[in-house]
């Protein structure tokens, strides 16, 4: 795809002005890193605060009396358990139990839900969701992805920074809850969610206010090369989520990977009323036992495992790395891999083929990193 065809968020020129190195990310022209570099960006988010443009994510409104029932039938988590102002992590599953996408479901009211989906899968998700909209469902679907920018401010300083820009009491918003309010005078959805393993917020607003909000957050966070908030690119977003062992679609999740295999049993409510698409396949898989599951590992000799590398035990190929990277905060080389369940046990020694060498690694508990509360 040529650069002219890439989609751009409303912050594209801001990223370029900040010296962001732009790459094609699922058809979007996005900053992979800024001049500070991925390690500094990652560390700053863990110790102070990081700012992320996630405007490429997709937003789909489901509105009407049957909204909850409809989303409940399409997703693995139990939407009936949500209260107004609460969100949860969930998965859209196909008939075979594979993951169409992972997403957040926000309940604004009993007849108004917002689905936030991955950028690269937005069109696929939209088609999938529409195809399940029968004439019996009293609801309206709207792909509103172009109507929002989304900026994530994450890290220990995130609440202090955002609080200076809003009259909304952020302390009253619990984790995985949200509210609507003004940020710097701009109508926003303020959501205490994120993809870094840190406390923080994701702010949704109309795209014409993206630059204002971004610049104000940088200014308020006292952005400079020595301290304060740092803009973070996709590379840091990836290493931060990997240290926290969060799944990334296309790696730990996919159309042919079930949430049970990905370690997402906690969002897979097989017994919820009415069932959901893929429920029977998942129940059968649970009954017969998994043949593979995601496990965390760390390298015990120098070398870095990368996505797609083969995993060996006793000279036999037993699995594959789904995500592998240096972990800047932990200062270890870590990864997630599919392993047979009997080998996905803490302390299991494995070897990973790194360009012809079989380097030692060990299965460890996840998340690799857990913030101090």
């Amino acid at each position: 795809m040529s650069e002219t065809e890439l989609k751009r968020t409303p912050l594209n020129s801001v990223h370029r002005a900040l010296g962001g190195r732009m790459v094609d990310f699922g058809g979007w022209d996005m900053p992979v890193q800024y001049p500070a570099g991925v390690i500094e960006e990652h560390m700053r988010c863990r110790t102070h605060s990081g700012l992320f443009d996630v405007s490429h994510m997709g937003e789909i409104w489901v509105e009407g009396p049957d909204a909850i029932d409809f989303v409940n039938r399409l997703t693995t988590n139990d939407v009936t358990k949500l209260v107004d102002g609460q969100a949860h992590y969930s998965a859209l599953t196909n008939v075979g139990g594979g993951v169409v996408d992972d997403l957040l479901v926000y309940r604004f009211s009993h007849d108004r839900l917002l689905l936030v989906v991955n950028a690269g899968t937005t069109e696929k998700d939209w088609a999938w969701i529409k195809s399940h909209h029968s004439e019996h469902d009293d609801l309206a679907l709207r792909n509103a992805s172009a109507e929002y920018c989304q900026i994530a401010v994450q890290g220990p300083d995130a609440t202090d920074i955002l609080q200076k820009l809003t009259a909304t009491d952020l302390g009253a918003i619990k984790y995985y809850h949200f509210t609507t309010g003004e940020v710097d005078g701009v109508d926003s959805i303020i959501s205490r969610t994120g993809y870094t393993g840190e406390d923080g917020f994701e702010v949704y607003a109309a795209p014409e206010f993206a630059e204002q909000l971004w610049n104000k957050l940088l200014e308020t966070g006292k952005y400079d090369s020595e301290g304060g908030v740092l803009p973070c690119g996709l590379a840091a977003r990836n290493t931060l989520r990997l240290e926290s062992a969060m799944s990334l679609y296309g790696h730990e999740l996919g159309d042919d990977i079930t949430p049970l295999e990905a370690g997402l049993g906690w969002i897979t409510k097989l017994d919820k009323e009415g069932g959901f698409t893929g429920r029977n396949a998942l129940a059968a898989q649970k009954e017969s036992g998994l043949t593979r599951k995601i496990a965390g590992f760390e390298m015990t000799e120098p070398g870095i495992a990368r996505d797609g590398y083969d995993v060996y035990v006793g000279g036999e190929k037993v699995g594959i790395v789904t995500s592998g990277s240096p972990a800047p905060f932990l200062k270890k080389n870590i990864g997630l891999a599919f392993l047979p369940p009997d080998l996905a046990k803490i302390g299991q020694e494995i070897r990973i083929e790194v360009r012809g060498k079989y380097l030692a690694a060990v299965v460890v508990p996840t998340p690799f990193y857990k913030r101090q509360k």
Binding site: R21, V32, Q33, G37, V38, I39, A235, T239, P302, G303, I304, R306, S325, P326, P328, N333, R355
Partner: protein
Amino acid sequence: MSHNIPENLRYSKDHEWVGVDGDIATIGITDYAQHSLGDVVYIDMPRVGDKFSAHEAFGSVESVKAVSEIFLPIAGEISEVNDGLNDTPESVNNDPYTDGWMVKIKMDNPGEADGMLSAAEYEEYLEASA
């Protein structure tokens, strides 16, 4: 963006640099290469005594985001490796032409480096491929 390209070195199209002193050549990656890679975290090095032909991969350099092979622009035998990079791989980013050197080789054919790109030619090459 302009990159530091010292006059006294020779360059390969794979973005390695070579500094010649008698029959010993010092080899590293260029400022352009380190910038493209991003934060370097690990360098997989050969051992002293290993022999390589020209354009053969002698190791790899890993950044947070990716791994890249590094090629020996000219043939020779590894006479020294920069062990300091085990502790400070970031030297490849910060000082690619000094502390960030990777290996020294005893050249099979002293004079082979003369066939490599000059600083001016490498700069032209970078501009043409930009």
